[in-house]
């Protein structure tokens, strides 16, 4: 600062003085301080003070502007929880005698209300009716404030201010060098074109100095894979792959970024990124299990290329209309489950699920590998109290009794078998698959046999360090079920509540996609992601070849980057060039009729859940030449997510994609963003941006 400013500020040292100027720029000063600063700024010699104030204002305004540009985040749950908390406070709901001071009455209830509120923190999804019943129960059995309320949600410590042990998962400290799949590991592609499902484990989340964390890390593998390349339509007019609704890669990368590290390239799987998000594709008409919507637009990262989005929407089944569920939970209660992100999360997930159940549903709980046995015989879905009590009673650890495990679970399922319903055994574990049958073959045989009888197996993985991803997925595959990894409350909600109908009701199986490109319109194409889901073209019609299942309400998205015929110029609507070598072929196909204007045709094969023969559906796309900015928000968002993945992979195909571009596209394509997932994505992009800025170059 210049010496003439010192006079106005007496003995303030340099930084204090400048801090005062900054505070003035922020409009934080009043009275004498403000007057002093204004006096200083009026001094013609105080140029740098004025510059400080002006620049600080500009920077502060930019900060606030950036903040204002962030999407508002709201959660219906919060409001509901607050309303429930308020209405369960007697002072709020019941009319009270006017003579009684509200304060005194309320305060008598406060500890209780607090305990209830704490409970609510987890059991927010408990319906309000159930909550009312709860209150009735409380007032009957626990009229005194100090009495301990029943714990609705098992995951919660029973005091008013719960210790934060529940969701606190130590952040990952994955060491990239070791996490990256090593070169000796066989490439995921090695198994040929058919998806060689090398699974990835989630990155370790424990502090790295813990011995088991080091152990986890050593088991951590990201199967190496090569990205799809551009293929010439002339040689390869068909592109065939199995649908994939896995989303694990996104959760894994989120953990890396939250820990302040960029993920290793092979942890980033574009299709799992893109499919992490929900898209509002049009629903199918009539009884069709799917609707397919196609859109083409300019490719944002490569001018002259086109981007095609294939969106498949599985028919939604209203939760109230869904078929009755006969659900048997087979829960691992071994000692290793005694960690915040394991059994407590299982219990929380179950409590969320219970809310969705009706009197048509049946729930049973069987435990294994610890205090094993039948914890809840098949119980009607409207007896929520009974079910929640049973959930509450689950404890990890204890001695291992001889465990009937999975056999017992299937017995329960058979007892209550609902013809035409969703009969499921839902295995919740951190990887201990000692479910009572030691032979893998026998286990798979049992699961297959039960699947044939109509009881499917869903596998939910929790925690990590021990997670036998590959094996768990194999079990679910053989049981016609879904395998999902649950890493937190939100994921639990996604899997068990939002997708309840999806993860319990398979609406089609062995879903395969084959895209046929029109050489008159397309020179070459590249499928973004799905590297491990590619199928041989011939497998498309081969009903003995397995592929992915799709559940009610699921959406599946695939993106193709396309080089239009006629070089890098956009082909849409362009007349074929007269002297190009391609000309005869183009003319020939033009003669065949309107098909020549089509860019491609998406062919979809699937089987009904009980079917053995596949059905074919075809969906042609004619490129209308739309610009990227005019594409639907879903397409733009999916493109941003794919571009983000490519950047994190340092993909050769990322073209002109940059993180700021991703942020710009995504922030303009948030849509309704139910659940705030897209806003979270934006945060991740910014996080990656700041991490990359920090990297030495």
């Amino acid at each position: 600062m210049t010496r003439d400013t010192t006079n106005a500020f007496g003995s303030l040292d340099g930084e204090e003085r400048d801090a005062l100027l900054s505070a003035y720029a922020l409009g934080e000063l009043e009275g004498a301080e403000r007057d002093a600063v204004e006096q200083l700024l009026a001094d013609p010699a105080a140029t740098d003070a004025r510059q400080l104030v002006a620049e600080t204002r500009a920077v502060a305004a930019a900060l606030r502007q950036a903040r204002a540009g962030e999407p508002p985040t709201r959660s219906a749950d919060l409001r509901r929880a607050v309303v429930a908390a308020l209405t369960t406070t007697p002072g709020a709901s019941a009319p009270r005698p006017a003579s009684r001071p509200a304060r005194g009455r309320l305060s008598g209830w406060l500890p209780l209300a607090g305990a209830l509120a704490a409970t609510l923190l987890v059991a927010v999804t408990l319906s309000q009716t159930a909550m009312y019943r709860e209150v009735a129960h409380l007032s009957k059995n626990a009229p005194r404030a100090e009495a301990r309320p029943p714990v609705l949600s098992p995951a919660m410590p029973r005091n008013a201010v719960p210790a934060p042990e529940r969701f606190v998962v130590p952040e990952p400290a994955p060491t990239m060098g070791r996490a990256v799949g090593n070169a000796n590991k066989p490439s995921a592609e090695a198994g040929g074109l058919h998806a060689d499902r090398v699974r990835r484990l989630a990155p370790p989340r424990g502090p790295i100095d813990r011995p088991e964390a080091a152990e986890w890390e050593s088991r951590d593998r990201y199967a190496r894979f090569d990205e799809n390349r551009f293929l010439a339509v002339a040689d390869r007019p068909l592109s065939t792959f199995s649908i994939d609704v896995d989303t694990a890669s996104y959760a894994v990368v989120r953990r890396f970024l939250a820990a302040g590290r960029l993920p290793p390239a092979d942890a980033v799987r574009i299709e799992e990124f893109v499919n992490y998000f929900r898209y509002s594709y049009p629903q199918p008409a009539g009884n069709e299990p799917f609707a397919v919507s196609l859109e083409a637009a300019d490719c944002p990262w490569h001018s002259g290329h086109r981007l095609v989005r294939i969106g498949i929407a599985g028919r939604e089944i209203d939760r109230r209309e869904r078929p009755a569920g006969n659900l048997v939970f087979l829960i691992d209660v071994s000692g290793s489950m005694n960690q915040p992100d394991k059994l407590p999360l299982v219990k929380q997930a179950l409590a969320m699920l219970v809310e969705q159940l009706t009197e048509n549903d049946r729930v049973a709980i069987v435990t294994y590998a610890g205090d094993a046995g039948l914890k809840l015989p098949p119980t009607s879905g409207d007896e929520k109290r009974t079910i929640l009590d049973a959930i509450d009673g689950l404890v990890a650890g204890g001695s291992t009794h001889g465990s009937a495990g999975i056999t017992l679970a299937y017995e329960q399922a058979r007892e209550e078998f609902i013809s035409g319903g969703a009969n499921r055994v839902i295995l919740c574990t951190d990887g201990d698959l000692n479910v009572g049958i030691t032979s893998d073959t026998a286990l798979v045989e049992l699961i297959k046999e039960k699947a044939r009888e109509g009881t499917f197996l869903t596998v939910l993985g929790f925690g990590q360090g021990n997670l036998q991803d590959e094996k768990m997925e194999k079990l679910a595959d053989n049981g016609n079920g879904v395998y999902a990894y649950v890493d937190g409350a939100r994921e639990a909600r996604k899997v068990l509540v939002e997708q309840l109908t999806g993860s319990t009701i398979t609406i089609a199986k062995d879903v395969k996609i084959q895209v046929e490109f029109n050489p008159a319109q397309v020179t070459s194409y590249r499928l973004l992601g799905y590297e491990n889901r590619r199928l041989a073209d011939a497998d498309f019609r081969d009903d003995t070849k397995d592929a992915g299942e799709i559940g009610a309400g699921h959406t599946v998205t695939a993106l193709y980057e396309i080089v239009p015929a006629g070089g890098d110029a956009p082909a849409a609507g362009a007349e074929p060039l007269k002297y190009q070598a391609e000309q005869p072929r183009a003319a020939e196909s033009a003669a065949q009729g309107p098909a020549s204007r089509e860019l491609l045709t998406v062919k979809l094969r699937f089987k009904q859940p009980e079917g053995t023969e596949s059905v074919l559906r075809e969906f042609p796309l004619a490129d209308q030449g739309g610009r990227f900015a005019e594409a639907s928000a879903d397409t733009r968002f999916a493109a941003a997510v794919a571009a983000f993945g490519m950047i994190l992979r340092a993909s050769e195909s990322k073209g002109e994609a940059t993180l700021p571009m991703v942020a710009d596209i995504a922030s303009a394509a948030l849509g309704a963003d139910e659940g705030g997932y897209r806003a979270e994505f934006l945060d991740l992009v910014r996080k990656a941006e700041s991490l990359r800025a920090r990297e030495p170059r």
Partner: protein, 201 residues
């Protein structure tokens, strides 16, 4: 089943502060789920508070409860150090902040991008030391230095210094300087030099 009018103030607070609290918690915790839980915790605590006790300081109270909860969670996860780190005294406003920020050698991509000041400063904000970042985060949510002092348990003077250091670091970043000079127009001081223009001759 509706909350009575007497509790309207809590719901108003939900409407008004949910989004700012979520953003704040998310920045503290780097985790969407944890942040949502933290915010919910704060509001459920609010339900237990008599309105008159919080008259005029609902915002500070909510942010503070949120912060305490977040610190607990960070501590539990062994990550609280950054947030609670005492700000080092080193008050060399010209040299220190710039050195702490990335991109001194101006990432060419970033330099070419040069899209807009808002995005750059918000990206750079993420790289500031936690106490500075937190102070500016809170200020951006519309809280005054006085409120921030109450929330973070620091003195107002300390908050003022933290905000100043953060802003100075942002200002001193070469990309920001370049953009600022664009804002000022061509006649203004040379932008990309590390020596800001000194006082009039």
């Amino acid at each position: 089943m509706t909350a009575t009018a007497a509790h309207g103030w809590v719901l108003e607070a939900v409407d008004r502060y949910e989004a700012p609290l979520l953003r704040y918690a998310r920045r503290l915790l780097d985790d969407c789920d944890l942040a949502a839980d933290t915010v919910q915790h704060a509001f459920l605590k609010l339900c237990e508070e008599p309105q008159e006790r919080l008259e005029g300081r609902v915002a500070q109270w909510l942010f503070r409860v949120c912060r305490n909860r977040a610190v607990d969670q960070l501590r539990h996860a062994g990550r609280e150090r950054s947030l609670l780190d005492a700000e080092s005294p080193a008050p060399d406003p010209a040299a220190r902040p710039a050195a702490a920020l990335p991109g001194r050698e101006a990432d060419p991509a970033v330099a070419v991008e040069r899209a807009d000041l808002a995005r750059h400063v918000s990206t750079l904000l993420a790289c500031l030391p936690a106490p500075q970042r937190e102070t500016l985060d809170l200020w951006c949510e519309g809280l005054s230095h006085k409120q921030i002092a109450e929330i973070t348990g620091r003195t107002e003077g300390h908050v003022r210094v933290l905000a100043h250091r953060g802003l100075s670091a942002l200002r001193a970043h070469p990309t920001v300087q370049a953009l600022l000079s664009e804002h000022r127009g061509p006649s203004a001081a040379p932008a990309t030099t590390d020596q800001p223009e000194r006082g009039m001759p």
